[in-house]
């Protein structure tokens, strides 16, 4: 891991286009400004980790008995047809 020290107002650049600026430091909270191409998604890591865990959990569905999925499918179809 690359470790850099930056002061408030200083920046760093990732690749040719992604700029991270330290906007403010208040106690143990660092406020960052990120400039990135529109096609680059930026998220808090906790959110990313939560989605990764959810994707991993979703994989278990294909190990289930077919009937369990069919039953839920029928239930959803039935509910949709009754207003």
């Amino acid at each position: 891991m690359l470790v850099l020290s930056r002061k408030s107002g200083e920046k760093l650049i990732i690749g040719n286009e992604i700029v991270v600026e330290v906007l403010a430091i208040n106690g143990d909270v660092v406020k960052l400004g990120i400039t990135a191409p529109r096609a680059t998604s930026v998220h808090r890591f906790e959110v990313f980790a939560e989605i990764e865990a959810a994707n991993r959990a979703a994989l278990a569905s294909c190990e289930l008995e077919r009937e369990v999925i069919e039953r839920m499918a029928t239930r959803l179809k039935h509910r949709r047809s009754t207003p």
Partner: protein, 144 residues
Amino acid sequence: MPTICIQGATLSYEESDIIAFDEGLIGFPHLRRMVLVRQSDIAPFLWLVPLDDERLAFLTIDPRTLLADYASHVPTDVRARLMCDAEDRLLMLCMVVMRADPSRSTVNLRAPVLISARAMRGLQTILADSSYRVDQPLLVAEAA
């Protein structure tokens, strides 16, 4: 013709069925090529099947079959990432965690998969609206 195996059933597909996921899925950056499998007995669920790991398959559902007004605006970066036009209709799917106990089955409404059928490209995005849950109970979502 190449084949995939889902729950013991072998299905064939064509090259033109392959959807490119250039970024992979969140936490699974190596899953770059997918096919979508519709099976009438489990509709409205669909399988999103990665070709880069044949042991895997994701059960998905169009969230709008559960919530008609779900995420009416897709994030602005999505079309740029899919390299598709504003007119391209996007297919939206959410990952389902199915469990033997139906009341414990959930759907991930926070991070939908979006697919341009014209471009045959897809991605998974994270919605900024955190009121959508990662683990929304499927039946509650349906009843809402």
